[in-house]
Symmetry: C2
Subunit: 674 residues, 2 copies
């Protein structure tokens, strides 16, 4: 309902001055220029621009209106919204700034209250407005883009403006544009929801600076991504200012890594620049699915082919050579001087027919193609373009083109665009786009995002960092594998527990006042007899004297084949996040850790294990046995579920977990409550 | 001389058909269109295009000519060259293809012989020709670019053509363009040499696919880079086809890493795409030196500022906040709603004067600035551009701009270009350019490339992989630190050598037939008595029975704080290359190794140590002591000099070298002769 009113209004009210150059006047003009028939101004003098009606009050307007664009001064916004509400208008875009972004939170509270009173929904305030190219709605100051099937949703008005200007410059067709500014009422969640059923939109592009409701965002995003590609630029990738303080394990990475993980889990296609966003949107808008990573390159010159191949390797595309049978087939119509390795190099003599036949034939064994054409002023590009178009149509697979140099290049590019073949400025850019296509369709086929979380347990945990025996009890209850242990309170108990466990054992001090046990000598290794155990206990008791000494925890000495870490941190937006990495130096020096918004499935946990840079170490490099993937993944799953069963757990740090060729066991555990 | 003839001819001969559409005819027309006054055609019918003279033979031409452009069929090239030689012409460009690139090596030998007979120098064959915009010389089929101060030298004609088309499209001013095709006579070396004294050229851009004479190339390149920035695209970064088989240590990286190291050592600015090449060339052409990495960003909108900041961190630029004093100064003229952190955000209200004053004032504490302006159709960009220009002129520091959105953006961009301010499509791209400026001027100030190499020793080495005792003797002579050792030939000798050395010791089998000692049980550790030593020797002797057993080598057991590797490989183009990395898994799994063309200075060796990803481990992470940088660097220097002193050494592998807080010692050595 509000969606129809926002994007398909028949009659739009513009609040604000109709004087030339004023915000409202410019937007009113845009609406008229865009082809909207009914535009009415509302301002104290009842003035309007040519082609629109002017009124002093909403109640004076005879015809019902569906959408209000409010560009009047901030102090008047609430009253104008009230008038809209009374007139039964259910949708508004508030362009006016001077609200929370300028410290005016009261002003926002006021307009939100008015809107809620009338069930009116609005975009903004402090936004750049709306566009729907399919309903002649150009309710913005920004550049009017060509019509098309890409929706753009921007958290930043300035970036939105740049995007509209770029869309016009590059001829990229836009379906809807939404700048939601402060996002006080309607925001990203609603827009993503609507995009699921928006038939005019094939690809959704979003610019984000922050994600306020991480889990809702993920659910909505994942639902949308299963239907349509969602291309995301998220700024604040690395800026120190964007980094929240995470605890120990998380502190080595800013929260951007969490958002990055969330986007991946939901199948969003993340790119880093607006240029990449446009390249990728153009690809998704025009091309059929890319079902695999086998990439074919057809070229008429070596250098650009080599550069495209370099990028293909960087983008994890498979640039395999054609099979011998395929080479034979290719040579049945290609001249002997052509190279039928991949890239297929037709040389400067390559004709449109050769592009067509080579691309088409080889695509039987590849998932997508890039056709590169470097002309000279004496070659003709149009027949080449026609060959590429024919190949795309005959094969039904994604084919992109790069055309460079020559007199009729522009005509050839136009031909390609009209036939729905994206044409990029370089092979490298085209390859990056095809790689994103392959990523996305792989996720759409195999990716699962399950937003459900385990039920909380009724059990209460102590209101402080858990003692190690408590932490280990908790792990056991949560199904996280753990080395055996005994909590002992005297030298005699220590000696008998050790003997029962089998020598050698390790003994650690237990005291709520001693968190860094090693630093105070509170960890004693290689204890190999009852006497040694008793002595060790006495030593720990001496260290703990006066420090709320609770006893000692004894475990068998284990020698892990691999030390890994599994941890939990809480992100302010996304909540519990599970972290996995190789322990020690790998984590601290190489920052080789991977994050996922919790909980994760067993498959996702396996993907985590496989996605660290040092994964080969776990596969059995240097003669060691490969680890038990399934057991380690199961431990990650159990940890990822723990904060939902025990919501009081704020952070958890299993460092190290010994991962061997059979099983995985947490050796040390730290659990912070809060 | 040949340089003047090639680039400043008064009279150019064009060999080939003058019929419309033919290669020679098109080039002749280009020459005339470019403004050259005297163009003569030479072909069997003596035909010419309008504006040129036609002759049947060179000897018929009354006026002396300086340059021949040969575009006649391949079989006629030698004869045409001969005629040029007889007429005293000393320079030619051979456009004609069908030589070594098509398997016709004899044809190439023939034309080279003719040219040498007459002292004639030529570009090509199979090249796209020459341009000198400063002498009206457009001797190519490719697009004519605007005149400027950037020289482009391309190994690929097709890439050269793309570059000329891009230059025209983007309005990038070119001084000279050289496509040298097969590079049979004149090639990259001569062109780089000439560019040193070419006053019309400020920046040199080269596209490379291979580097045939690596060391000469480096010397010439380094001399040029000390005077002018040299921007390089080297294709074949990652393609498997480009990888040569290097020995053990080198095999984890393709030869591109060697070329990459060589380019770095010589101060070249490597970029990966032609787009980046153009961005960077434009920056170097227009901007004063960037002497440091402190980057200021001034913007009128947050989002694009954040994205530029992200890129700045990725590009290792320092985005420090202004000092408190500077903030105070800024607020003396900026409104309170502006943010004076870095980015300085003037908000949408930012005026040209504010851009000027904020940029200019803050630049006192920064090394360069990026001014971002995101307009809307109702803001005016020209006054902003003027403010940015004023800031650049007043500060004398590098200032780049990004202007986006708005009606008068084109006029504003033009103003910036005329004032020599590069204007990029995004902040990210501008930041990358400034980072390359900072890299280059840092090298130009501190970088040293010394091409001298040590004198060879007269000593002969055995003509086979050295036995370990021989390898260790060689290391000692070459000044590479080494663990002490004894070469023993009986159980008794082993026992007494061990006792003398001090227990425990390690004993290894010595046999030219056993290269992988560990695999056959030929390494015995922890030998702690005379009896154990004797027994160990007997065990090795049994293993070596029938395998040319020469004895055993004994060394004290050492426990290294860090295991590193130092190696030597030979690159087919660059010769000896020294390799450094952390040993074991770091090398094999993380490929964390660094290469330099040998020999290296002590400073360069220290840079190598500091540039591995895991360098923090060597700095004393996790409680270990920092390594003795100087000793380890000295070992790298000694290894890097060894292949010059002993040219028979083909490969060398010190794996591991124990690097401690005092000193560094090679523990195992493998030296391959050949």
């Amino acid at each position: 309902m509000v969606y129809r009113d926002l994007f398909y209004p028949q009659h739009v009210l513009v609040f604000g001055s109709a004087k030339p150059g004023k915000l409202a006047a410019v937007i009113g003009q845009r609406l008229l220029d865009g082809g909207l028939k009914q535009v009415s101004f509302v301002n104290p003098k009842g003035q309007a621009i040519a082609g629109a009606q002017g009124y002093v009050a909403v109640s004076d307007i005879p015809e019902p209106a569906q959408l209000a664009i409010i560009a009047s001064p901030a102090p008047t916004v609430a009253a104008n919204l009230e008038a809209c509400g009374q007139a039964g208008i259910k949708a508004a875009a508030i362009i006016t700034s001077g609200f929370s972004e300028a410290g005016n939170k009261e002003g926002e509270a006021e307009i939100l209250a008015v809107a809620q009173k009338y069930g009116l929904r609005f975009v903004g305030p402090n936004c750049a407005g709306l566009i729907n190219t399919h309903s002649n709605l150009i309710a913005t100051l920004e550049t009017q883009p060509p019509a098309g099937d890409i929706a753009i949703i921007s958290q930043s008005g300035a970036v939105g403006g740049s995007l509209m200007a770029m869309a016009k410059e590059q001829g990229l067709g836009i379906s809807k544009f939404i700048s939601f500014g402060n996002g006080l009422d309607l925001n990203m969640l609603e827009f993503l929801e609507w995009m699921q059923t928006d038939d005019e939109t094939k690809v959704v592009a979003i610019y984000l600076e922050s994600v306020p409701s991480g889990r809702e965002f993920m659910q909505t995003l994942a639902r949308l991504a299963k239907i349509k590609p969602v291309v995301v630029v998220k700024a604040g990738r690395s800026s120190a200012g964007q980094r929240a303080a995470l605890s120990h394990t998380g502190s080595m990475a800013g929260v951007d890594v969490v958002c990055d993980a969330a986007l991946k889990q939901c199948g969003a296609i993340r790119v880093n620049t607006l240029e990449d966003m446009f390249d990728v949107c153009r690809g998704f808008s025009a091309l059929p699915p890319m079902q695999g990573r086998r990439l074919l390159v057809v070229t008429n010159s070596g250098g650009p082919g080599v550069m495209a191949t370099d990028q293909a390797e960087l983008s994890q595309m498979a640039m395999a050579e054609p099979s011998e049978a395929m080479k034979k087939e290719l040579y049945s119509f290609l001249p002997a001087y052509a190279s039928t390795r991949n890239p297929i190099d037709l040389t400067v003599e390559g004709t449109g027919k050769e592009y067509e036949d080579a691309t088409c034939a080889a695509l039987a064994d590849y998932d997508g193609a890039l056709d590169l054409y470097i002309g000279t002023p004496y070659l003709e590009a149009v027949p080449i373009a026609q060959g590429i178009i024919n190949a795309a149509q005959r094969s039904g697979k994604p084919v992109t083109a790069v055309l460079s140099v020559g007199n009729d290049i522009e005509a050839a590019r136009k031909l390609l665009y009209e036939a729905g073949i994206p044409c990029y400025v370089s092979g490298e850019r085209a390859v990056k786009v095809l790689a994103k296509l392959a990523d996305y369709y792989d996720w759409r086929t195999h990716g699962v995002y399950d937003p459900s979380v385990p039920e909380p347990s009724a059990e209460q945990l102590p209101d402080r960092t858990l003692l190690e025996p408590e932490a280990k009890d908790l792990l056991a209850k949560a199904g996280v594998p753990n080395v055996p242990y005994a909590f002992v309170h005297s030298a005699a108990e220590a000696a008998s527990a050790g003997a029962k466990m089998g020598w050698p054992v390790v003994m650690k001090i237990v005291s709520p006042q001693i968190l860094h046990k090693s630093d105070v000598g509170g960890v004693i290794l290689h204890i190999d007899s009852e006497q040694a155990a008793a002595a060790a206990f006495e030593k720990l008791a001496a260290i703990g004297a006066g420090k709320d000494f609770r006893g000692a925890i004894i475990s068998p000495m284990r020698k892990g084949e691999h030390e890994v870490i599994i941890g939990l941190v809480r992100d302010p937006s996304f909540g519990p996040v599970v972290v996995f990495g190789l322990g020690g130096i790998y984590t601290e020096v190489l920052k080789d850790v991977v994050f996922r918004v919790a909980p994760v499935s067993l498959d996702e946990a396996k993907l985590m294990i496989h996605s660290i840079k040092t994964h080969k170490l776990l596969e059995g490099a240097r003669g060691s046995k490969p680890i038990d993937d399934a057991a380690l993944a199961q431990a990650i799953v159990a940890v990822s579920e723990l904060p939902f069963r025990y919501p009081q757990v704020k952070e958890l740090d299993l460092n190290p977990v010994f991962a061997g060729s059979t099983g995985a066991e947490a050796v040390d555990a730290r659990v912070v409550i809060g």
